[in-house]
């Protein structure tokens, strides 16, 4: 399986797209496939402060409930409201319309501790 080259990946199967001091985060297609049909997501609040690798929300599928772990730290500036009524976007388009939140980065260098697409493919292979 291959993953988008412009993203970085965490061991907990979240992705992050860094653009300057901002980043968009979500869960990977691997995570979505492992969870199965996702029926609910508990989103963080706008303004919440995320710490890298700390839990910031919950996803619930028909077969499991999992915590979401922030791949990178920062303050939440926007959450994907479309997921509240359409959590299936996490399955159908995890790297696109299924994004979870946008954050203002606390420390952009944190991205260095994440995997690139090749390393993540090896990790999940």
């Amino acid at each position: 399986m291959s993953y988008p080259d412009d993203l970085r990946y965490s061991k907990e199967h979240e992705w992050v797209r860094v653009e300057g001091t901002r980043a968009t985060i979500g869960i990977t297609s691997f995570a979505a496939d492992e969870l199965g049909d996702i029926v609910f997501i508990e989103l963080p609040e706008v303004g919440a402060s995320l710490s890298q690798f700390a839990s910031f929300g919950v996803v619930e599928s028909v077969k499991a409930v999992s915590d979401l772990y922030a791949p990178i730290g920062g303050e939440v500036t926007e959450v994907n409201e479309a997921l509240r009524d359409g959590p299936e976007l996490l399955n159908s388009d995890p790297f696109g319309d299924g994004w979870i939140a946008r954050v203002e980065l606390a420390d952009p260098s944190e991205v260095e501790s994440l995997m690139d697409a090749g390393a993540y493919a090896a990790e999940t292979g």
Partner: protein, 447 residues
């Protein structure tokens, strides 16, 4: 025969394994003051001797001729059909459904109960029940903390003292601070929570205001204004209600309650020393994922037939472990069934009559006490079926009346010093005019 789970050599091997020389050394850290010491147990008795002893002990029970005791537990007529339904072995012998979908009858009974509680409270979703009213109240307060992500709760002093103690206990673990909102305890005062006090006390870090309707002293609280005051501070409003009162008082769903907790005992469960009782909880659908305990939902199977499931179990501890909405998912299914059978048997009109007869008798009682000059109402303003009255030397006369087979209600001075010389008297449809006359006469004679 001595019950001996382990032999001396078993014990010796266990002590050796953990490196302790004797049982005495094992328990050395336990202070002598809390040790059991030598047990002075009499020799065994034959079965008939045990029976005789139990009969003798039972003979010491005092069954009052007349009781005005309420204070959270109320004596009501329980139609015979209630015990008939809950006595059916399909219900009375079944434990919690671990493979729930094969227990469609049990699930349906819980679903019917939840539906009745929603109808009664005017709320959108109700749980399968909790231990009792106090634990349901505490669970509701913690649920408000999860919903608001705040860590303080405000509780009106009009909520039962017992419930407030349970609330303190539940809040002590997760580090939630409980602040008490005073009520007007002045002689002739309202006996209720002042919305202006609430507005002044509630900082923007308070998760909820908990208030009772009617309150512990029977007084009718300004629930709509209290809900508005709570919402004004961004807090949720938790209404603790007496369920039969909802037949004549406004439903919590109407006055803006976000959460409702209640003791379900008045709905077909006899007053009993230590229970079992049943806790009710209801909420808005938007907050359903933070509800504690079990929920039964209705659905359709692959052939389109109606069926019932335990739903939204991701809230529960067997899936969410330490992040569960509550670590108490036990419900009181049999008592919930009793409540459902009771509500179904009496119907909306019957429940209304229960509430009206109780309030009517409370007014007869207050009028008779005031007319004879032995007591007068402690508070002013509207009250439900329980009335606080000022009686000089209340504790002594309460004890004297008990000797005569009359329980003159509850002594609220035990928990609230400002209410010494007060009796809290409850009436229901079972309170007769003769009961009232007897209480008034006995109070006159002990003047």
């Amino acid at each position: 025969m001595t019950y001996s789970p382990h032999t001396d050599s078993d014990r010796a091997r266990m002590l050796e394994e953990i490196g302790v020389s004797s049982v005495e050394e094992l328990f050395a850290d336990i202070p002598a003051a809390v040790r059991a010491g030598a047990w002075d147990i009499p020799p065994p008795l034959a079965e008939q001797e045990v029976r005789a002893e139990l009969v003798r002990l039972a003979g010491r029970n005092r069954i009052p001729d007349v009781s005005f005791l309420g204070a959270g537990a109320y004596r009501h007529l329980v139609p015979a059909v209630v015990s008939e339904v809950i006595g059916r072995p399909e219900f009375s012998t079944s434990y919690t459904p671990y493979q729930p979908e094969v227990s469609q009858g049990t699930l349906q009974s819980i679903y019917e109960f939840q539906s009745l509680i929603c109808e009664l409270t005017g709320m959108e979703v109700a749980t399968a029940s909790h231990y009792d009213g106090a634990t349901a109240t505490a669970e509701a307060a913690l649920m408000a903390c999860r919903l608001t992500r705040r860590h303080r709760v405000a509780v009106s002093a009009g909520v039962s003292p017992d419930y407030r103690r349970v609330l303190e206990t539940y809040c002590s673990g997760p580090g939630v601070e409980v602040i008490t909102v005073p009520i007007d305890l002045a002689d002739g005062g309202s006996g209720t929570t002042d919305p202006a006090t609430v507005a002044a006390l509630l900082a923007d870090d308070v998760a909820c205001l908990v208030a009772a309707q009617p309150n512990f002293y029977g007084q009718v609280e300004p629930m709509r204004e209290l809900a508005d005051a709570a919402h004004g501070a961004g807090a949720l409003f938790v209404a603790v209600v007496e369920p039969t009162s909802l037949a004549i008082l406004e439903a919590p769903g109407e006055y803006g309650a976000d959460l409702v907790a209640a003791e379900g005992q008045p709905l077909g469960i006899p007053v009993s020393f230590g229970g079992p009782y049943v806790g009710l909880m209801a909420a808005r659908m938007a907050s359903v994922r933070q509800m504690p305990g079990r929920l039964v939902g209705a659905t359709r199977d692959v052939q389109g037939r109606r069926g019932y499931v335990l739903t939204l179990q991701a809230r529960e501890q067997h899936i969410r472990r330490e992040k569960a909405a509550s670590n108490i998912c036990t419900n009181q299914a049999l008592m919930a069934l009793a409540a459902a059978a009771y509500l179904t048997a009496v119907g909306p009109q019957g429940l209304r009559e229960v509430a009206e007869l109780g309030t009517t008798q409370a007014r007869h009682l207050a009028a008779a006490l005031e007319a004879s000059g032995v007591a007068e109402r402690r508070f002013s303003g509207p009250y439900f079926a329980e009335v606080a009255v000022r009686v000089p030397d209340a504790a002594r006369r309460h004890a004297t009346l008990a000797e005569r087979g009359i329980v003159a209600g509850h002594l609220p001075g035990r928990e609230e010093p400002a209410l010494a010389d007060t009796l809290l008297l409850a009436t229901t449809e079972l309170t007769t005019d003769a009961d009232i006359e007897r209480l008034v006469s006995a109070l006159e004679e002990t003047r």
